[in-house]
Amino acid sequence: METLNFDYPASQPVSRRAHVGVVGSGDLEVLLEPSPDQQAHITVRTSADGFGEVWEAVLDRFFARNDLAAAVEINDSGATPGTVALRLAQAVEESQS
């Protein structure tokens, strides 16, 4: 298991918190909440060690496209980058609904 942290500059506040997904094989859960400052803070706990660069690429791309001052916690059980991106999009959609 490995814990990773990422920060991105952000300006758009998040109105509602959202929880999606399950910590089951090949899946992950995402907890998305308003950030206390003008930044996005992401904490990843993943069962698969050694994929820090892949997480960085997935999150760089997501937060380049989504300006969100969000505190995001991810509990991952070996999800693929595609699944991670979909769960993040789902969490954002839920927080805006």
């Binding site: 929880h19 094989s25 059980s77």
Partner: protein, 283 residues
């Protein structure tokens, strides 16, 4: 572009949270100790296992046919639904609160949605202790209100939580669901493939599948893997009220049953069903 998704009607396709919400009267689902409380297991991360923010158990309040209800749903996808210190305490605590409500004259309808291999091995004795508390709470609560257990699949229900099912007033299963003290893989690992080939699906389901368990009186209602069918069966169980005699109090009857059997001969599912056919007629 965005075609509406086909509504899910299969119960086993739903997460624990979705199952609890689907079971309760529409719009009444309210979660206690939800994901953002972050009441996760303190034992997993030190052992290199990623925790879940709800420790794999959903505690939901709401209504069933307008009556106050509490639903405890285990998430089978997280650690095989294994019961640890926190997830077990969530179930036991909710049942104990339901007991207090019932004792004060506030009727309550407790439901357990169980997908679990039993104890979470990483938490060993703490999980065992929690399951003992769950057993005690079910026995205390069932004298006030029927306690309904549902084993829909796809994990099934094993170990100490299978005993919890045995203590329930009414048990609903699907054909997909399995119920047994030891799971097939555990039996094969401990006693060898000659004792049980856990890959033999027919053999396994004939022994511990929902159809067999209902036919032999270990479970009460066999339903399709369908949200409406399961929601209906749970409501019907509460309407029927508590059984005349709970299964777990019929000790002499089952001891006599066991005494009749010849342990030197191999017993398979269909043979047991023929022997215990009358059991399926209700308790």
């Amino acid at each position: 572009m965005t075609a509406p998704a086909r509504p899910k009607t299969r119960f086993t396709e739903l997460s624990a949270r979705e199952r609890a919400a689907a079971l309760l009267d529409p719009g009444t689902f309210r979660e206690l100790i939800g994901p953002f409380e972050r009441l996760e297991s303190p034992h997993l991360e030190p052992q290199g296992v990623v925790p879940a923010c709800d420790d794999g158990v959903v505690v939901a309040r709401g209504d069933l046919d307008g009556e106050r209800a509490v639903v405890l749903a285990v998430e089978g996808l997280f650690q095989g639904g294994g019961i640890g210190e926190v997830s077990g305490a969530k179930i036991a605590g909710a049942l104990e609160l339901a007991l207090r409500d019932a004792e004060r004259g506030h009727p309550i309808r407790p439901v357990l949605l169980l997908e679990t291999g039993g104890i979470r091995l990483q938490e060993a004795n703490l999980g065992l202790l929690a399951i003992a508390e769950i057993h005690a709470a079910i026995v205390a609560l069932r004298s006030h209100a029927p306690v309904v257990g549902v084993v829909a699949g796809t994990v099934g229900c094993f170990g100490g939580m299978a005993i919890a099912v045995g203590l329930c007033s009414h048990v609903v299963m699907t054909r997909e669901g399995r119920l047994g003290l030891n799971g097939p893989q555990v039996i094969e690992q401990e006693a060898g493939v000659a004792e049980l080939d856990s890959d033999d699906r027919r053999l396994v389901w004939e022994a511990i599948g929902g159809e067999q368990r209902v036919a032999t009186g270990v479970a009460d209602t066999l339903v399709a893997d369908d949200v409406a069918a399961i929601a209906g069966a749970v409501r019907t169980a509460f309407e029927a009220g508590p059984p005349a005699e709970h299964l777990s109090t019929q000790v002499e009857r089952y001891e006599a049953r066991l005494a009749e059997m010849d342990a030197s001969e191999s017993l398979d599912g269909p043979t047991l069903r023929a022997l215990w056919r009358d059991e399926g007629e209700g308790r």
